[in-house]
Structures are given as structure tokens and as C-alpha cells.
């Protein structure tokens, strides 16, 4: 009897968790439905007219900003992660590894509002007063570049953790073989470790991108939040998550606005879930091989 109860409890719990993304997706879809009735999907995503009071919802400026900030952060964080991952698994002393574990834990655990505040205090003035004048640009500092830098710092522990795990799965014998052939450590790393874990590195990068894409508060605090399409990193952007977070107050007072914001959330969910499912699959393939 007792067995039966606990077993039901266990199964229910597990099934609930596994169904959660589906439930979230359906709930958001139902909420976003009214929007699909007035505009079709390609138009919603491709149009850049954003006038909620006139019922015009074009999400392209937000998607564009999101991608721009994400790619910027990736440019900063990817090389650092790769190099640090290699150093930690191949060259570093035991002591350094022991210190790095809590460092990565804390970096990963710091709330995004703390990163956002650090961004406002340090990165925004740095971009506005140092970098922008250097390129002869007038900028307040609340820019996509600042968002990219803050995001990069936030994503580093996440990607680095995965990279370290992946590099550790490379059999040591392979490396020893190349070392015994007279390769230097770096050559062994370049030709054996990196090549062997190539799919894993790509996956870790992909998951890092997904994480950057969905990050809300820290980016919102430094990115300037202006609806515009620009390819200048010294201008303000308005990523999708910031759109949702910034407007939850007004969303019930303007018709269709709540549907539009829920559609934005659905878009985020779908994009990120797909990226996650694809790249996690790669990781599993490399781990089981």
C-alpha cells in the first residue's frame, strides 16, 4: 500500500517535470492566439513596425537586437572560454583547479541583477567615456556593446563548465601518443584534444548562445532599450526578454498587447528549446561514443 502511494508520487512528479515545457508552450500559445488572428506569423517576425497602440506588432527590431547582443557576447566569451578550458584541463596545477572550482561556482551563482549593477557602474561608463570617444562616437554608454560585454561575463562560467567536462572525456592515451611522437603540449592540444572534442565544443558554444539569448535583467539594465534597427554596437538596442520585462505593467491596458508579449515569450521558448535539444543531442553523442 505504502509502496503504491510513493510510487504514484514519484511517477507523477517525473511526468509533471517532463511535460512542463509542453504545458508552458501550450499556455503561451493560447495566450498569443488573438495575435495570430490579425497578423500572420512571417509578418509578425519580419515586420519592424512597432506601434502597440495602433495594433501594429512587428518583432523584427527586438529579434534583431537579441541576436546582435548575443553574437557580440559570443565574440568576447568564446575565445576566453576555449583558452581557459584548455588551460584548466591540460596545463594548470592542481591548486589552480581547486581555486577555479569555487570561482566558477560563484560566477555562475551571482544573480543577474548584480551583473546588471556592475554593468551600470563599470561597463556603461567605460563604453561611454573611454571606448566611444576612442572611436570618435558620441554615446551614452547604454549600448548593445555594454550589453554584449555583461552577457559575455555571465555566460563564461556556463560554457567553461561544459568545455572542461568535454575536454576531460578525451582519452589521455591519445594525448600521450602524440606527445611520444615528439609533439609539444600545445600541438597535442591543437591536433588531438581540440579535434577529438570538436562536436562538444560546438555544442557548448551553442548552449552558451541559447543562454545569452534568454538572459533578461542584466542586459535590460545596460542595453538602453530603444526600439530601432541598427548595426552599430554603440547604439541602444531592445532585446526580446527586455521587451517582456519592461512592459508587463502596461500590457493589460492596451488591447492585444498582452498577446504580443506572450508571443514574445513563446518565441524565446521555442528558439531556446530547439537550440538546447539539438546541441544537447550532440553532447550525448560525444559522451556515449
Amino acid at each position: 500500500m505504502f509502496d503504491r502511494i510513493t510510487e504514484t508520487w514519484m511517477v507523477t512528479a517525473l511526468v509533471t517535470i517532463l511535460l512542463l515545457p509542453l504545458i508552458i508552450g501550450i499556455a503561451l500559445y493560447l495566450k498569443a492566439m488573438p495575435l495570430f488572428e490579425i497578423q500572420n506569423l512571417p509578418h509578425l517576425i519580419g515586420s519592424s513596425e512597432w506601434l502597440p497602440t495602433d495594433g501594429k506588432f512587428g518583432f523584427w527590431p527586438f529579434i534583431n537586437s537579441s541576436m546582435y547582443v548575443t553574437v557580440l557576447s559570443f565574440i568576447f566569451s568564446a575565445p576566453v572560454c576555449l583558452l581557459a578550458g584548455i588551460y584548466l584541463t591540460q596545463f594548470a596545477s592542481k591548486n589552480l583547479v581547486r581555486i577555479m572550482h569555487p570561482v566558477m561556482d560563484i560566477l555562475a551563482g551571482l544573480p543577474s541583477v548584480i551583473y546588471g549593477m556592475w554593468g551600470i557602474l563599470i561597463i556603461v561608463p567605460f563604453v561611454g567615456n573611454v571606448l566611444a570617444p576612442f572611436f570618435n562616437i558620441n554615446s551614452s554608454g547604454y549600448t548593445m556593446l555594454a550589453g554584449g560585454i555583461v552577457l559575455a561575463v555571465m555566460c563564461i562560467p556556463y560554457m567553461l563548465n561544459m568545455l572542461v567536462e568535454i575536454f576531460n572525456t578525451v582519452p589521455i592515451g591519445l594525448k600521450e601518443a602524440s606527445l611520444s611522437m615528439g609533439a609539444t603540449f600545445w600541438q597535442a592540444v591543437k591536433h588531438v584534444v581540440i579535434r577529438k572534442s570538436y562536436p562538444g565544443i560546438i555544442s557548448a558554444y551553442g548552449l552558451g548562445l541559447a543562454k545569452a539569448f534568454g538572459e533578461t535583467l542584466a542586459v535590460m539594465m545596460v542595453v538602453g532599450n530603444r526600439v530601432q534597427i541598427t548595426h552599430n554596437p554603440f547604439k541602444a538596442g531592445y532585446p526580446l526578454p527586455a521587451l517582456i520585462a519592461n512592459n508587463y505593467g502596461e500590457m493589460l491596458s492596451i488591447p492585444m498587447y498582452d498577446s504580443a508579449l506572450m508571443f514574445a515569450a513563446l518565441l524565446l521558448l521555442v528558439i531556446i528549446l530547439i537550440i538546447n535539444l539539438v546541441f544537447r543531442y550532440f553532447i550525448y553523442k560525444t559522451k556515449t561514443r
Binding site: W9, Y87, M100, M117, I122
Partner: protein, 284 residues
């Protein structure tokens, strides 16, 4: 040729070492900035008083409402996450132990679930709230955060459980225990430090997350007494006060950030400590 490869080796060794040490430097930089900025205005009033009249114009008071609200939400959510996450993790490692394929598929889905951003959970929590006709309240915040952190509890606890040797499981069955007894009396005990780590990680994530409570928990200057009252949270208190044009209020945001950072530091270091205990004392 030989010299070139040695030069290349040294360059990359230097670069990668530099990248690694710069991470330590960045962490130190962030924490030092937060502490230096915040310590000036950090006072005992911040921790023991709620905002008084005129607080948002630089008047008296503290952020006790937000501290209590955050703790309430984090404790409540962690409790729910344990109720759902702990049995789920045990089920994967006891009942499904013979079905490696199913185990791996579940782990794969859970990992993907971990990647969903908190703003999406927030939006979902908001639709749930509207569906049930509730207002922004403590309970809505708790449920939203619980959904956010349950995958963390399951995956972290599961990671530790999966390292428990198969022999232990077989031995308990051979002695005549049921699967439930094996799960809760043996596996749970064996993986207890992993359980604590999982709970602490989830708690830390719950207390620091802002995007998901933005819609669901609301904000208030009072300490919430009942589940249906709105509740302030520490990250949102920092966020709102940072947006103020008045310097005193901004100073308080810095102080509140110090409080939040200290809480997070304590949690992550304790979690690390417990996972170390695990690797020392358990069966291998």
C-alpha cells in the same frame, strides 16, 4: 621548425593561462566593486527596517520587506521543488536503473529544460495567475520559482545518485527490501550530501532570480503575512532603486546588492563544501 613550435607553445600557454587568471580577476573585480560601493550606505537600519514614508525620496527605512519576501519565496519554492524533484530523481535511479535508454532520454530532456530562461517561466506564471484569477502574490511567486528550480534539484541530485554503485542497490533488494525502501532509506541516505548541494543550488537560484518574480510576486513596502499578499524581493528592490534619480536611493540599492551578494556567496560556498564531503566519505 623546432624553435617555431616551442614559440607557439609558449604563446598559447601564456594566452590560455592569461584567460584563466583573468576569470579570477573578473570575479574579484565584480565583488570588490559591489562591496566598495555598498559598504558606505550599509547600515543596520537596512536590514531591520521596512521602507518608511518618503523612503523613495531618500527618507528613513531599509529593505527588510524585500529580504523577508525573498526568503519566503525561496524557502517556499525550494520546499515545492524538493517535493517534486527528490522523488523524481530517486525514481530515475531506482526504478529505471535497468532501463539505460529511458534514463538517458529523461536526462537529456531535463538538461534541455534547464536552459529555458526565467523570463519565460515568469510569463507562464503570469498566464497561470490570470487563468486562476489571482493577483500578483507570494504564492504565485513561489509556484513560478518552484517550476524554475525543480529541474535544477532533479538534475543535481540525480548526478550524485547515478554514481552510487549498482551493487548497493542489488544488495538491498537481495535483503528483501522493496523498491520504495531502497529509494528512500538507502539511496537517499547515500546521496544525502548531493541532495543538500542540489537544494542549496536551487535555493540560491531562487533567491537571486528577478525576471520570473517581476510579473508574479509584485512589489510592496510591507512584509507579506499571507500567501495571497504581494511580496517584495531583494533583486527587484535593487533593480527598482537603481532606476531612481535620487542618489540616496541609489546608494541603498548598492547596499542591498551587498546583502544579496553575501547571501549568494554563503550559499555557493556551503554547496561546494557539501559536495566535497560527498566525494570524501561515500562508497565508491
Amino acid at each position: 621548425m623546432n624553435r617555431r613550435k616551442i614559440i607557439e607553445e609558449n604563446i598559447f600557454k601564456f594566452l590560455s593561462g592569461f584567460a584563466t587568471y583573468s576569470l579570477i580577476a573578473i570575479l574579484a573585480f565584480i565583488i570588490i566593486i559591489i562591496f566598495v560601493k555598498g559598504f558606505n550606505s550599509l547600515s543596520i537600519d537596512m536590514v531591520i527596517k521596512t521602507p518608511k514614508g518618503g523612503y523613495y525620496y531618500g527618507g528613513e527605512g531599509g529593505v527588510l520587506n524585500a529580504i523577508i519576501g525573498s526568503l519566503d519565496i525561496a524557502f517556499g519554492a525550494t520546499f515545492i521543488a524538493i517535493l517534486i524533484g527528490m522523488p523524481a530523481a530517486l525514481y530515475i535511479n531506482v526504478h529505471l536503473i535497468r532501463y539505460k535508454r529511458i534514463q538517458n532520454t529523461i536526462r537529456y530532456l531535463l538538461d534541455a529544460l534547464w536552459g529555458i530562461p526565467s523570463i519565460v517561466y515568469g510569463a507562464f506564471g503570469f498566464t497561470l495567475m490570470l487563468f486562476f484569477g489571482m493577483n500578483a502574490s507570494l504564492i504565485a511567486g513561489i509556484i513560478t520559482i518552484a517550476l524554475l528550480i525543480t529541474p535544477i534539484v532533479v538534475r543535481t541530485f540525480d548526478e550524485v545518485l547515478s554514481t552510487i554503485p549498482m551493487g548497493l542497490y542489488e544488495a538491498t533488494l537481495a535483503l528483501g527490501s522493496t523498491k520504495t525502501e531502497t529509494a528512500f532509506k538507502i539511496m537517499f541516505k547515500q546521496g544525502f550530501s548531493g541532495f543538500i548541494t542540489a537544494v542549496l543550488l536551487a535555493f540560491g537560484r531562487g533567491i537571486g532570480d528577478a525576471a520570473s518574480v517581476l510579473f508574479t510576486a509584485g512589489y510592496t513596502d510591507l512584509i507579506p503575512l499571507y500567501l495571497d499578499e504581494p511580496a517584495a524581493t531583494l533583486p527587484l528592490a535593487i533593480f527598482f532603486q537603481l532606476g531612481s534619480p535620487i542618489p540616496e536611493v541609489r546608494e541603498r540599492a548598492f547596499a542591498a546588492a551587498v546583502i544579496l551578494t553575501i547571501i549568494i556567496l554563503i550559499i555557493s560556498l556551503t554547496a561546494r563544501y557539501f559536495s566535497k564531503i560527498y566525494s570524501k566519505s561515500n562508497l565508491k
